[in-house]
Symmetry: C2
């Protein structure tokens, strides 16, 4: 709950819908994590929210950056990020994009396939490469599927080839899935990582870096364990599996850093029943799946919603966005209830909306503008 | 297959990915439908592709426009559309949006709930209103769900109130679902419409217009019946159910008009297996769910894909987009096969991509730009 954001909304009355992000919360989240994970490089996942204001705050605090594209690399550099603290984390890059990143000074590249390793070797010779290994994502509310990461044996094979191709087999990474609700998921991945380190050491290759990936959650409608549980699990697991000393460690939080810093304010456009027999009201907001709330897909992320009438009697609703698209229904099964006094024109707030909202917004589906955003 | 588009791509070599739309095909589709449905007002669904070039061609041919927002209304007017040939078809409008449309001269408004009717009556007094009734969408590849349309009894009740509120109970509409593959679906909706006309006539209300909605399909990977089957089914159904004479008729094609006019050209970014045991190649394109191919959601729309190696031996693939998002997988279950000779850097074409692509594109998810589009 950010008083600063509510003051801004009350005083400025911006056109709705809009997202307002409190940069103090962003900085606070970064500092908290840095304090809990001393010695671990915190590389902000730019894709969560690439606003220049967010990147500047984080660069000023010493953050590194995990970039998904050359555009994100440029944004990080423009905000004061240093190229040696940028990881080009996408495993799906055009050769021209790798070359552009290399020209900008980036020297750490992720991959999970032979062809990608070869592209990096050609377009970014001498760089450090980091192999992404597939691990279990059980417990993640936004899993990343088999799209990313190769299996253990293939990863070993590719790392063995890296040196011969002219790149440095520097480290490995995993990702336990976005909005990971089970802190213990990191342990199995860290154990597997140690096996990977050991296997390559037997081949004479000493990996220097382990990237713990993303996955740290934000607090949405469902309770998640406190961040301290996550960092403690990681640290205990690392100490257990790497008793002879830790490699260089990175972590790539995005959602954790910026989600809770942001609130979307939205206007209720329509409240309707479509039949005299309907028990449930349809509540249509002016923001939906195509203007920022894409992560309501399959009702994966359940946002906390505040109305001016909270505390009064409430009833079940189906929440939907404003477009003429049947897919643009936010919550039908999640069991949302909203006050019976809720009225058309009311302003409602959607909490923890600072991550994965603005950039998922379409350019103008149905002629509706992209989500406006303010950073204060 | 548009030679004009391929010539443009070969000569201009635009940055990829991009969409190229052949305006002659747009005009041809409109003319074909107008010839098959004489006397029916063809109101292009602007949301399918709101490019000024498309709207200008259609306005020049005499099309009306179905608009989802004030922005779309302005686009239609800018392109030469006439306000008396615009239907504000969204049933979810802010009062301020209704007022803005009214100020622009629009006098035909859709609704499906009491509150929306009241908003129209207040903000657009004297206008014609059109009640949207819920009908079966069985057979639609992109159904519109219960989000739109009220039931028969509620629709009757609301139309009875319309006159007293100061608006004209002018007509009714239904929508059998987007990409409707079963022409016979219109018959049940038209029969229900006639019952609606009769019920209101018994109350002394004579409806003047029936809007047959959207739903006319484009030709994707799966065969659909020819357009003549659809128009013939509609005409026979109308003659059967309205033997005493037809009301004013509208139809709102979007996809049918513009989908087949457009081709996306995309570059293969990566081809990979992630395990020595993998039988299936992952093929990653530079366009995905967040840069135009949103309708691959749940593999709903299956695009025809052409490669430079078609005709040679092929094998199964999983097709995915370029972002670091696990959701950005295009086809995993649909059984796509692509040539074994397909290589990184190859240019592939995605057919019938002129509708529901550009506007679904995000503003810049992962730092990737929105889909570029050309109209020739």
């Amino acid at each position: 709950m950010s008083e600063k954001i509510f003051r801004f909304l009350a005083e400025q009355r911006p056109d709705l819908p809009c997202l307002v992000v409190d940069l103090d919360v962003v900085a606070g989240k970064y500092r908290a994590l840095a304090a809990l994970l001393p010695g671990v490089g915190i590389y902000y996942a730019v894709k969560a929210n690439p606003a220049p204001e967010v990147l500047s705050v984080l660069a000023g605090l010493g953050a590194g950056f995990d970039a998904a594209s050359v555009t994100e690399i440029r944004s990080a550099l423009d905000a004061g990020g240093r190229p040696e603290r940028i990881s080009y984390g996408s495993t799906i890059k055009k050769r021209s994009e790798i070359a552009a990143a290399y020209a900008l000074g980036v020297r750490l590249f992720a991959f999970d396939s032979q062809a990608e390793l070869e592209k990096i070797a050609e377009a970014a010779p001498g760089s450090r490469v980091c192999c992404r290994i597939r691990v279990s994502e059980s417990g993640a509310d936004w899993p990343l599927t088999r799209k990313f990461g190769c299996d253990f044996d293939m990863a070993c094979d590719l790392m063995r080839r890296a040196g011969g191709l002219g790149v440095d087999p520097y480290g490995m990474m995993f990702h336990v899935g976005s909005q990971q609700t089970k802190p213990e998921q990191w342990d199995a991945a860290i154990e597997k990582s140690k096996q990977f380190f050991d296997r390559l050491r037997a081949d004479g290759i000493t990996l220097k870096m382990l990237n713990l990936g993303g996955g740290l959650p934000a607090h949405y409608r469902t309770e998640v364990p406190p961040i301290e549980r996550y960092t403690q699990e990681m640290q205990e697991s690392l100490a257990r599996h790497f008793p002879e000393g830790l490699p260089e460690l990175l972590i790539e939080p995005g959602r954790y850093i910026v989600a809770e810093a942001g609130i979307i304010q939205s206007e209720v456009v329509l409240i309707a029943k479509k039949s005299a027999k309907d028990e449930v009201r349809w509540v249509y907001l002016d923001v939906g799946k195509f203007s920022g709330l894409a992560e309501t897909m399959d009702e994966a992320i359940e946002y906390v919603i505040r109305t001016p009438h909270d505390g009064g009697p409430a009833g079940p609703v189906i929440l939907a966005g404003p477009t003429c698209d049947g897919v643009d229904v936010l919550y039908e099964k999640a069991g949302y209830k909203l006050p019976l006094d809720l009225a058309i024109g009311d302003r409602v707030e959607i909490f923890a909306a600072g991550a994965y909202t603005t950039t998922y917004s379409t350019v103008g589906f149905n002629g509706l503008p992209p989500l406006k955003d303010y950073y204060i």
